[in-house]
Symmetry: C2
Subunit: 177 residues, 2 copies
């Protein structure tokens, strides 16, 4: 039984073998859009996966003081990952700081609340523009079965989310005028 982070790492390694450093880079972009971890967390989790026999590694030298370790998913790791993919996700409790602030917004100066939501709207519009650019960079529309489909579907989810958030911010700004 691995943690979700373990499966995130396995999902990356299922596509190609990588060093811990490279996995950490992926956890910023593009996997970072839906799962993130710092390098310290990744190195620790890789140790656990190694103990569990879900990954193996091959050391290669340089550059740097320590040898580079190229991790690879094992057949056992792939089997566990496959099982996990279609298992129902465990519900995470919602924690949304902006909505919490909204809940307490009756205490605040309306002008300041307006500024807060204008800022948030700008953030979501910027992300939307970024996602639209990435959408362009996909040549065609990948279909299910293609490994690229995962990234495509995630991007569509991100676009929908940012649109919903931007709409809500606009509605809030309307309410404040």
């Amino acid at each position: 039984m691995s943690s979700t982070l373990g499966f995130a790492i396995l999902a990356v390694l299922a596509r190609s073998e990588r060093s811990g450093y490279e996995i950490a880079a992926r956890m910023r972009q593009p996997v970072g859009y839906f799962w993130t971890a710092s390098h310290s967390q990744i190195h620790g989790e890789l140790q656990k996966l190694l103990t569990g026999g879900l990954v193996g590694f091959e050391a290669r030298h340089g550059p740097g003081p320590q040898d580079k370790k190229i991790y690879r998913i094992t057949p056992e790791g792939l089997a566990e990952l496959r099982e996990w993919v279609t298992a129902p996700p465990r519900a995470r409790p919602e924690r949304d700081e902006l909505v919490l602030k909204t809940y307490a917004s009756w205490l605040a100066d309306p002008a300041e609340v307006r500024r807060l939501f204008a800022e948030q709207l700008a953030v979501h519009e910027a992300r939307l523009a970024e996602y639209e650019r990435e959408k362009e960079s996909f040549g065609g529309e990948p279909v299910f079965g293609d490994p690229a489909f995962g990234g495509w579907a995630a991007l569509r989810c991100g676009l929908g989310y940012e649109r919903h958030r931007a709409d809500w911010c606009r509605w809030m700004l309307d309410q404040l005028s």
Copy 2:
């Protein structure tokens, strides 16, 4: 400097004085739609808020072995809460297990993926129906300034989110057929 949980508790206490038990109940419903905590976490956080002078309490007896403690926000607590409301929320890293599963879905049996998304769609449609019912239970549409506006705005955010998620699940099911 309080944690976000501290401010969530202060936001509840700003509306009316409550015992730890009652705050925990609120953290399931309706505040639970955007912030949750278990009773053990709440009791611990209340101790910190008490030490910081942001809340005070009055003990009242019964029922139960220990006295009931009715917590009340202090002027200092209210001032800190007011300041926090319009401060920019600190960005939480995205962690979305369903999207992560989608990223790895190329490894799985399409029929199983279809089942997973059909299940998720049902979850979001059920929540949508629940939120619609709650929307009805609001008599009119509260306006900004009314404490009830916070709950109303949060509900509208929730409705938008569930619609976006349901749409994405439907799109995924389309892709799988």
